[in-house]
Symmetry: C2
Subunit: 402 residues, 2 copies
């Protein structure tokens, strides 16, 4: 049941589906890149500005991480794509010799521009007035640098050029990420423009393709099924290697699950599929059941720096994490999870980590980051194993059913 | 030429001198503790509050660190000695299965109490009015917690009790650390009181000695040779396993070297000798030449978090570090030191570390901490090797002579 895509455009890439769940769209795959083969489903950790926060790449490897991403928007502003290129590209600069993804820069322009879109896409916050986004026109997006106030103009062509200098394995077309509050007509107009931008992105990519990068299209359409259908069909027809689901996914968790489910009905199933910016445990189970192969989110690592330890809900009254800052851990001499094999759980108690946060020792955030990375790695493996052994459908977010 | 000390009181400890320099007091030794044998001369890294700042203990081991210390004062206030004991003691709590030292708590009481004594001991700053130190009397020191304002009374007996709960291998008697501005008569009175406190510390220690800890006396006397002679003689007569040189070491670097040199003339040479709070490269070379075996200071790790990379002065125009925040590193694609085998130097460029500090990614401080720890480890080995092969005296801080 191998799928093989884009031999001409993507000779060093392959996406092979190795197992399929019989009762859902879940599948296991092997995504070959110039920096190694990624087992899917998997989670992509965010080295936002070209560095993981609180841990080294060696610690990421020790925790089992297989793939990371960096954000084009931040790297465009500092240190700039030419300097990254001079340093040998992202893999060399970060010393990460495994698969890597960059986004197009669009998400942050609109997220930081509107102030709070990231939350809004996940249905957490209402609209905040624009900040650094100056103007969107047919050519691209005008915005101000949050670093020095200088004006920038990001076009589809420029996003690809930048990502080619950064050198990640998987790169994305430029899209406009519309927030939840957008009207249907605005969402439709933005989607159409994003489609035109993606054609320009592809054009630029194919002109200067070094065969060491693979381009993903992005499916837009907000919460509107007919738009998602049109966008899915559009992306399916282009010669992208993979596809990402972007844009607003709804006003709450339930709607997000619905939008993902309906979108996944109208996308190509032979391509690796990424769900942008989603990283909750239940959201990942739900995404996998709908055919998503990869996920990314700052949640696991950001949560860690604020004291949150990811745990399987069945061990934690149905909740996906607990906060070590809570005073109930002051004399809890257990590890976060006695079954976890990470450096944190093998060697340190909840009481010690609680203490570290209390006295503001950054080691607390480091240890929790190691644990949360290891947790996401374990979660992804658990999902893959259950797909492979046929037990996945019985387990779709099992903690809600038990 | 083996020296063996305190078989009855210290059955699990030994200090064996393996090499002596012929032209100075420098020597190599093996200091046996219940948590392993420490090669001396060596540097003790500061896990002040029971955690290294910015790195894990595994990273400390990878960088070659052999011994760390924690500060009794901080741990007394948070999380408290009973909680450390409940967590299995410092070695288990921190997951550090190598030699470890705790100080008596005295230094911080007086340092934080006066505000700036730490700098003043090294001759860097004039006196600042008292802050949290309330009163010193014959019994001990009254002070306020900087955490919650509660009053504490630290006595020699209590300091030992606390250190026994913490469980480090090497522990210190309580002393009053007098700042440089103190008059000779005050320094003398404080020294005499510290001597009486050290007898009480020893008494307490020997009553409850579990044979897994070894007690160090502290030689006081400020910058006054006659006082240093008396203090050296006093400490020599007591059944301490080791000895530390404490108190004010002078108003500047040159005077500090003089005070160390004169003090070392009047101390026992069969005991392991620690120089408290000193960690500059030239200061360590000078100390070793005078017979010092171990050093501690927050300097290497604090410097790292502020962008400073330790380097051998001959590679850096005679200076002991450079600051990666400096814009001259923005396009410097070299490692900090091409000959350094640490994780930082093997994998990352100065330009990348410069960038990390610019965008305030904590990875910058982590990588520099790894480098600076590895540097101090290398420096200590270089010193030991040169003592062993007879070249030390030609090299006493060679960068000043070449």
């Amino acid at each position: 049941m191998a799928c093989f895509i884009g031999t001409v455009l993507y000779p060093h890439f392959e996406f092979k589906i190795t197992h399929r769940d019989l009762l859902s769209r879940a599948r296991c795959g092997l995504l070959t890149t110039p920096h190694g083969i990624l087992e899917t489903p998997n989670f992509i950790f965010c080295a936002t500005k070209g560095a993981m926060k609180a841990v080294t790449m060696r610690q990421m490897e020790e925790a089992g991480a297989a793939i990371i991403l960096s954000n084009t928007y931040h790297l465009l502003l500092q240190p700039g794509p030419d300097r990254v290129a001079a340093l040998g590209g992202l893999h060399k600069m970060l010393h990460w010799n495994h698969p890597m993804l960059t986004d197009s820069g669009g998400f942050q322009i609109f997220s930081l521009g509107h102030g709070g879109v990231a939350n809004e896409i996940k249905g957490k916050r209402s609209c905040i007035i624009p900040k650094t986004l100056l103007k969107i026109d047919e050519g691209g997006a005008h915005f101000r640098s949050y670093v020095d106030g200088r004006k920038h103009y990001l076009t589809p062509e420029k996003s690809i050029e930048i990502q080619q200098k950064l050198g990640a394995d998987l790169i994305l077309v430029l899209d406009e990420c519309t927030p939840f509050h957008s009207s249907k007509s605005y969402t439709e107009d933005a989607m159409e423009r994003s489609h035109r931008w993606s054609l320009r992105s592809f054009q630029q990519f194919s002109q200067s393709n070094n065969h060491l990068q693979a381009l993903y299209g992005i499916i837009q359409g907000g919460i509107y099924e007919d738009l998602r259908v049109r966008s899915g069909n559009f992306v399916a027809e282009q010669e992208f290697f993979g596809q990402a689901i972007g844009g607003s996914l709804g006003g709450d968790k339930a709607q997000m699950h619905d939008v993902v489910a309906l979108t996944c009905q109208y996308i190509r199933t032979d391509r690796p599929t990424h769900l942008l910016g989603i990283g909750g445990i239940s959201d990942i189970w739900n995404g996998v059941a709908n055919g998503i192969d990869t996920f990314d989110c700052v949640h696991p690592t950001r949560l860690a720096r604020h004291g949150g330890a990811l745990v399987y809900p069945e061990k934690n009254n149905g909740k996906e994490f607990f906060n070590l800052k809570n005073s109930r851990f002051v004399e809890d001499f257990n590890p976060i999870d006695e079954n976890c094999s990470c450096y944190c759980c093998q060697n340190f108690s909840r009481a010690y980590i609680h203490y570290l946060f209390k006295v503001q020792e950054m080691l607390g955030g480091q240890l929790l980051t190691i644990h949360n990375v290891a947790f996401m790695v374990h979660l992804a493996k658990k999902i893959r194993d259950s797909i492979a052994d046929g037990s996945f459908s019985k387990k779709i977010y099992p903690w809600e059913q038990e």
